[in-house]
């Protein structure tokens, strides 16, 4: 059942590439959308088959692939992976829908989109370390191509930066996985905290450190974040949606599944430092966002800040904070995707994203009132306004982490306040005031003329954003669905350190 989540996008991509004869762009797009829709439906089918009452991996599938090096094809899904698979399916569909006016090579574009989606599904579902790594790397090249072919003016620099950073991340993760097998002497590469517990603390810390930095690059955490703003600025809107909404979650997923899940003891040792790192990351990202002029860069830096909450939650590793981490992953996926979509609309209509230039876009007849309304909703959700997804996620994270790390948690809450500052500045500058899309000329008479008339935004252009916005509000008002889906798994993860300690101390294995 789970394999279909890989087969649909991969074979779809292959089919798109190999289909004989000329194909019109619109037909390719329709075919890709149909495939992505099918993937979403299949993900929902998996959701129906999924039993949230169980903590462990479910719907497992396995067959030996390359047995000699321990690479097994083993898939499974639990409460941690399930919501992310859904987010992936939904956001890839959204980014497919909002792809318009492709300049070149539509076939390749949609094939890459499908490949990424499949690879991400694979990474979320793998039960084998090497298999995870394969999918983790597989998503890298298509994204590099997406940025460097369909990107903005400075795309070469941004794409190469992204490639090198993520490749280093991959090397570190592979190194840690290989080191693990080397030191434990086992070549089975399954996810198992008990095997690692046999290692000495020094070795554990070294391996965990490599993994941490590897995933910190992907998440990204300060100071490994500099690829993200560049990549976002140069990437086209659909690619940004995918990057922020889905691909960053690979990093946080890895953090929870592999760092915390496999090295609970060493993790507990490092936890205070990690909480401090989280606070630094949150504050740094938020402060840097305040100073940005480019709307897209601002949203990108806000991602850096908001991903810090997940590190904080993981460091605290209480049942509530772990659930908060899952909530934050989902809600950040939806909210940042929404924000990038809307910034994309603004850019397409005004040809600029500069906050020093844009003014008064809420103007009802000549501006972008509906986009502006959704933007206000999006930034408020991101700032943690109750009734939307951001609030419940942050509340869970803070509530779960406060007892363990009071100072770091309070600092992160300050970061949440700063989010309100920069996003409010964004809305206030670009959407309030008198409509203008060119810098003030200094001539008051010329500036006061209202000659701007932005092209109207068709309903089909706002439909994806509307869907995401209703998801954001829905999750904020009725969070119990996601809570039920993930609670068993996250509670089990939060109890890992205690469990491993009990096994070690009580000698259940001996």
């Amino acid at each position: 059942m789970l394999s279909a989540l890989l087969l649909i996008p991969f074979f779809g991509a292959l089919g798109l590439l190999c289909w004989p004869g000329e194909l019109a762009t619109e037909r390719i797009r329709r075919a890709a959308l149909a495939l992505l829709g099918l993937q979403l439906l299949w993900s929902l089918r998996v959701l129906l088959a999924f039993d949230p009452g169980q903590a462990g991996l479910q719907l497992q599938e396995s067959f030996a692939w390359v047995d000699s090096i321990g690479l097994d094809y083993r898939l499974g899904v639990d409460g941690l992976a399930m919501p992310l698979v859904l987010v992936n399916a939904a956001l890839t569909l959204v980014s497919g829908i909002c792809t318009r006016d492709l300049s070149q090579r539509p076939r390749l574009y949609f094939a890459l989109l499908l490949t990424i989606s499949g690879a991400v599904n694979g990474a979320f579902l793998s039960e084998n370390l090497l298999l995870f790594f394969l999918f983790y790397e597989l998503e890298l090249i298509p994204l590099w191509l997406l940025i460097s072919i369909w990107g903005g003016a400075n795309r070469g620099y941004a794409a190469t930066k992204f490639l090198i950073f993520t490749a280093v991340s991959g090397v570190l993760i592979l190194g840690a996985f290989l080191g693990l097998s080397l030191f434990t002497g086992q070549a089975d590469f399954s996810i198992n905290p008990v095997t690692t517990a046999q290692l000495g603390m020094g070795t554990q810390l070294a391996l965990l450190g490599a993994l941490l930095i590897g995933f910190a690059i992907k998440i990204p955490l300060v100071p490994f974040h500099t690829w993200l703003p560049d990549a976002h600025t140069e990437a086209s809107t659909p690619v940004s949606v995918l990057l922020a909404g889905v691909l960053l979650k690979l990093g946080t997923y890895g953090l929870l599944r592999f760092c915390l899940g496999m090295f609970p003891e060493a993790w507990a040792l490092l936890a205070p430092w990690l909480a401090g790192w989280a606070a630094v990351s949150v504050l740094y990202g938020s402060l840097a966002a305040i100073a940005q002029r480019d709307m897209k860069r601002m949203v990108a830096y806000s991602s850096v800040g908001h991903m810090g909450y997940i590190l904080l939650a993981a460091a605290a590793a209480t049942p509530v904070s772990m659930l908060g981490a899952v909530f934050q992953m989902v809600s950040h996926g939806l909210i940042s995707a929404l924000l990038f979509l809307l910034v994309g609309v603004v850019y397409r209509k005004t040809r600029t994203r500069d906050l020093e230039v844009l003014r008064g876009l809420l103007n009802p007849e000549r501006g972008l009132p509906f986009t502006g309304t959704l933007m206000i909703l999006g930034v408020m959700a991101s700032a943690g306004m109750p009734g939307m997804a951001g609030f419940i996620s942050e509340f869970l994270v803070f509530r779960g982490s406060l007892a363990a790390f009071p100072v770091a948690t309070l600092l992160c809450m300050v970061g949440s306040g700063l989010t309100a500052v920069y996003f409010l500045l964004l809305v206030n500058r670009a959407f309030f005031g008198r409509l203008a899309v060119t810098p003030p000329s200094g001539d008051a008479v010329a500036d006061s003329r209202l000659e701007v008339r932005l092209p109207a935004v068709a309903l089909r252009e706002t439909l994806p954003a509307l869907a995401l916005a209703s998801g954001v509000v829905g999750l904020g008002v009725l969070p119990w669905g996601l809570g039920k889906l993930s609670e068993q798994a996250t509670t089990a993860m939060a109890q890992l350190p205690a469990l491993v300690a009990a096994i070690q101390g009580g000698g259940l294995l001996s």
Partner: protein, 614 residues
């Protein structure tokens, strides 16, 4: 909840939803999906659902009067040891506050229909007011801190959107920004308190929290910080010093929203403070801060109000001032006096702001120096202003007279200083309203007030209705407070109160208006006038301190990010590219060199390996 309870109580969770549904009902017109008719249907629908809320509220009130207080509880979200619930406390005080909120919202919406007659985005206004009303109705009924926080934040959002209603005007842009950010600071601090309480005490139900705080001994620092966090939210909401800045700027928004903001929104903030009041006992520092903030706001607000030349601002600063008195009452653990004061203030302030709105609607002017002589031509508006001002000051036996009397009597022996604060505030407020009245309604007409017909019935009717309500306030108060009765203060207190009111009235009617309100040539007086007129320069202090600090930090972070972090990455890239480039030039192309290099490398490798192994 047993099924035997009346349906009105069982369905009382609907009450906040009426307001929210009003927002949803307005959406088709607000978003422009329905263009065949004007936006009026949205307004009518909102009026209808608000009327439903009022009626439902009064049904619940009757049921509760018969059956005693009820509690309604619905699970919202629970995970591990966290249990978040939606809870309604249907007590008499909460329901009275609910009736106040929904009732004033209703009359305010009728008033808005007249005031915003020609406004093209009327539907958007009603959508926001519906949202506003729903959040307020929830806040006053809430039985747990989580829900109160949740809805307070929604109030912050809707205040932002209502203040920013005319978003194309430059002053509105900054006003909306400041309103949101100031309140948000308070909210984030309150969130810290909420999260801490949730982690420490487990439950967030007010009753559980009271029991917990009575039994628990907390570390001193923790208790102090917690207490401060809990008062920060209401401080922002009630526009208390130093977070009062937004209320002044919020006067850029449409007047019907100002009516609600100055009467019931601040009441909601104070109601939340009332609900956390028993928790504050854990922290003496928080109580002291509350007293200080209340006193400064009461006196400072009253003084700043006197020196304003803007009609709306002159009235809005008195809101800060009155809420300061409420804060003092709460800090001194006098919840009942606080409630009476809130009740009488809300009604009187509402009619005052309706009258102000009428003046602005007729003259299109809110500058006091350009107004005059309206009294004879706008009788309803004049009556409204007089009744509102009388209801707010302790001179005639209307609402605030009795509340002040009880407060002065209660504090007189225990805390004479705060009793004096009440009297001084009363005097200053009387002075302020007298001079505003003289300026606006008396004297000769100015150019802008030559043609001033009375406002249309949509504005006059709600104004007169609330004016009548203000006049009967003492009767209502007497019914609420049977023991010891609203007249339970000595004649000395009453005399002192009337004396302070009369003094204010006298000074206010004697000050020379023309010279007094232009800047004085005498330097000391001018400095004082400017200090008060510019609100103690609060906005400049903010800009020089906290805004400059955050902006500077942001700029430093950005520069660090670009130069150091990103610079490092680029430098590493440049070094590796550079070394590759220079190595490329070192290639000779001769086979011998390559063979030599390979041999040398093998020798080195083997040598080092044998050295390591040996």
């Amino acid at each position: 909840m047993p099924d035997t309870l009346p349906l009105s109580i069982q369905l009382s969770w609907l009450i906040p939803l009426y307001g929210f549904s009003g927002m949803l009902l307005s959406l088709p017109w607000a978003a422009g999906w329905i263009k065949r008719n004007g936006p009026r249907p949205a307004a009518y629908l909102n009026l209808l659902v608000t009327l439903l809320a009022v009626l439902h509220g009064s049904l619940v009130l009757r049921a509760v009067l018969a059956l005693g207080p009820q509690h309604l509880d619905i699970a919202w979200f629970s995970a591990a040891d966290l249990d978040l619930r939606i809870g309604f406390d249907l007590s008499l005080t909460n329901l009275a506050a609910l009736e106040l909120v929904t009732g004033l919202s209703l009359v305010g919406q009728v008033f808005a229909l007249g005031y915003l007659d020609k406004e093209w985005s009327l539907a958007r206004f009603y959508a926001l007011v519906g949202f506003f009303e729903g959040a307020m109705a929830g806040v006053v009924l809430s039985s747990n801190l989580f829900m109160s926080y949740f809805l307070l934040e929604m109030l912050t959002l809707s205040t932002y959107l209502l203040v920013g209603f005319w978003y194309a005007q430059p002053l509105v842009v900054t006003a909306a920004r400041d309103a949101f950010l100031t309140k948000r600071v308070g909210d984030v601090l309150l969130l810290m308190g909420v999260v801490t309480l949730s982690a420490w005490a487990g439950s967030l139900e007010f009753n559980d929290l009271y029991a917990w705080s009575a039994n628990e001994t907390l570390p001193a620092l923790g208790a102090t910080l917690l207490g401060l966090a809990l008062i920060a939210g209401p401080m922002g909401k009630c526009a208390q010093f130093p977070m009062h800045l937004w209320l002044d700027e919020a006067m850029e928004g449409p007047n019907p929203a100002s009516i609600l903001r100055n009467s019931v929104v601040v009441t909601c903030g104070a109601v939340v403070l009332l609900k956390v009041m028993p928790l504050l006992l854990i922290s003496p520092v928080a109580i002291d801060v509350l007293l200080a903030v209340g006193t400064i706001s009461a006196l400072g607000g009253a003084l700043v109000a006197i020196s304003q030349v803007d009609l709306k601002r002159a009235c809005s600063y008195s809101t800060t001032s009155y809420l300061g008195l409420v804060f003092v009452a709460i800090a001194l653990q006098q919840p009942f006096i606080a409630l009476l004061l809130l009740f009488s203030h809300a009604l009187a302030k509402a009619v005052l702001f309706m009258s102000v709105g009428s003046v602005i609607a007729t003259t299109n002017c809110q500058d006091l120096t350009e107004l005059g002589g309206l009294g004879s031509r706008m009788p309803a508006t004049t009556t409204g202003f007089l009744v509102g001002a009388a209801g707010l000051t302790g001179l005639l036996p209307l609402g605030c007279f009795w509340s002040f009397g009880l407060m002065v009597e209660g504090l007189g022996s225990r805390a004479p200083f705060f009793a004096a604060v009440v009297l001084v505030t009363n005097g200053l407020t009387a002075l302020n309203f007298t001079r505003v009245y003289r300026q606006v309604f008396m004297g000769s007409p100015h150019p802008k007030t030559r043609r001033t017909p009375e406002v249309n019935w949509l504005m006059a009717l709600p104004m007169v209705t609330v004016a009548v309500m203000v006049l009967v306030t003492p009767l209502v108060m007497a019914r609420i407070d049977r023991v010891p009765g609203i007249g339970a203060f000595s004649s000395v207190t009453a005399l002192a109160l009337v004396g302070s009111g009369l003094a204010g009235l006298l000074v206010g009617s004697l000050v020379p208006l023309d010279t007094f309100w232009s800047r004085s040539v005498r330097r000391p007086l001018r400095v004082l006038q400017d200090l008060l007129a510019f609100d103690f320069y609060t906005d400049r202090i903010y800009r020089a301190t906290i805004v400059a600090f955050v902006a500077g930090l942001a700029r430093i972070t950005n520069v660090f990010d670009q130069l150091v972090v990103n610079g490092m990455v680029n430098r590493i890239a440049a070094v590796s590219m550079g070394s590759a480039e220079s190595l490329k030039l070192g290639v000779s192309g001769r086979l011998q060199t390559y063979v030599f290099t390979v041999v040398a490398a093998i020798v080195l490798l083997v040598g080092s390996l044998s050295w390591l192994g040996g």
